[in-house]
Amino acid sequence: MKFLFSFFARHFLKIVGVLLLLLSYELFSWYVYIDNPRFANKMFPRLEYIIFTSYPEFATYYGMDQGLIGFRKNFIQATIVLFDSSIITIFRLFLGVGLGILLGVTTGLLLGINSLVREISLPPILLLRTIPIMALIPLFLFWFGTREIGIIIFVIFAVFSMMIVSTLEAIRNVPKILLNYARCLGASRIQIYKTIVIPYILPTLNGSIRVILGIGFALVLAGELLATDRGLGWLMILSERYLQTGRMMVIVIIFIIYTLILNFIYMKLSNKINHWKN
């Protein structure tokens, strides 16, 4: 209880800002509703409609992939549906982004050891990155299938290409004086790499990872929008097909909450690495 109170106290202004935003939307949607009740719920559903009508409607999707139908709307089943889909989407996110970062950083570090190799490999990789990534979704889904594999590989590829450039650039930007200093202390090339280059570039990589976390959700969502299977993106598509704006808003709100939580956790973890760089 005390924790919650201090949390609110510290972030008071931010909370006020968000509440004001919600309030303005609510006022706007009420205005539309009073003006034209019939179409208001399809265009700009009021918050109470979103929470008390759209949310429980998710129960109707329960068991859809198993061919079950006919569930009436209720909160508990709606939560189960959303929870299941969230698990799937988050799984794809973690696997895709995680492996993408791992592969990107490892390859970057391996290529970066030799400056000649680094200079040769950078241009083609940069070229790869200029391809609009969303345009590749259909290609990947065709190559790898619209099930889990296709979406995950797509995310891995997108994240990989971003991380490898980040890594190579960061290695390039290690200050020469640190390298000279290590050499005058008797360090071998490998030792310089392990004790100077890698610790030095960690905060920079950290910055790149934060950006990637931000768009990671978008990447998974994009894949899910095209691949009709399961997950939050799939729920979004279904809702769109039934013109249920309210349900789409529920999904959006859920996404926002997840992103905030993920960012928060990541910030806590990454503070340990970053503290030395201003």
Binding site: Y181, A182, L185, G186, H275, W276, N278
Partner: protein, 253 residues
């Protein structure tokens, strides 16, 4: 460890193809455990010469012989203290001082002992668990000096290490440097453009001008030295002579 500079010549080629002969024919001998200061106007090549001795740069012709061996790349035998901050900001002070020893594979207990010893000599034993960014500029310099001394090089090279510090801190550090140097004498080459610093620290002063060592001055003070020699007549006379010699060259800007 003796240092022999034999006919060192260094030509820089700029991007436009313009050749700049920074060092013409540097020929000199530095004796074992001697503290030599290399002084000269800005741009005269003193840092370049130091880098060549360290092995960080190669001379165009000529050779540097340290302890009977010709050198061509950096090694832990020739430790260098740089003007800018070269500390590893992500490591604590104690880990920084241990760094050189870590590179040679010395065990943790042994490393710790040596590092603590060096930190005591520079008066920073209370700061062993601090991070570099929590220290002042002067303190960081002291950590750097301790780090290089801990590695026990045969030769100490210092490239304007106190250049970025204020006058009072500079005086304190010069004092401190001589103190720890007296306890573990090493052949030292120290580059500076501060004349007072040169006279206070050096056994001999090499004046680098027009790409050669134009003049060599012997400093007539015995060791250990302390601050009151700074106002001594001989001290100020030597400074005046050096100043005179330095003001003439306007070529290098």
């Amino acid at each position: 460890m003796e240092i022999l500079l034999k006919s060192i010549n260094k030509i820089f080629v700029s991007e436009k193809g313009i050749q700049l002969e920074v060092l013409k024919k540097v020929e000199e001998k530095i004796n074992n455990e001697e503290f030599v200061v290399l002084i000269g106007p800005s741009g005269c090549g003193k840092s370049t010469l130091l880098n060549i001795i360290a092995g960080l740069e190669k001379c165009t012709t000529g050779e540097v012989i340290v302890g009977g061996e010709k050198i061509n790349k950096p090694s832990r035998d020739r430790g260098m203290v740089f003007q800018q901050d070269a500390l590893l900001m992500w490591r604590k002070v104690i880990d920084n001082v241990e760094y050189g020893l870590e590179l040679s594979g010395i065990k943790k207990n042994e490393r710790n002992k040596i590092a603590l010893d060096q930190l005591k000599k520079v008066g920073l034993e209370k700061f062993i668990n601090f991070y570099p960014k929590e220290l002042s500029g002067g303190m960081r310099k002291r950590v750097q000096i301790a780090s290089v001394f801990a590695n026990n090089p045969k030769v100490m090279l210092m490239d304007e290490p106190f250049g970025s510090l204020d006058y009072m801190t500079k005086l304190a550090l010069q004092d401190q440097l001589l103190y720890i140097w007296n306890k573990q004498k090493k052949t030292t080459v120290f580059v500076t453009h501060d004349i007072e610093e040169a006279v206070f620290l050096a056994d001999r002063i090499f004046l680098l001008k027009n790409g050669i060592i134009d003049d060599v001055f012997k400093v007539p003070f015995s060791r250990p030295r302390n601050n009151h020699i700074r106002t001594d007549e001989k001290f100020r006379n030597l400074m005046a002579t050096l100043l005179n010699k330095l003001s003439i060259s306007k070529e290098y800007n």
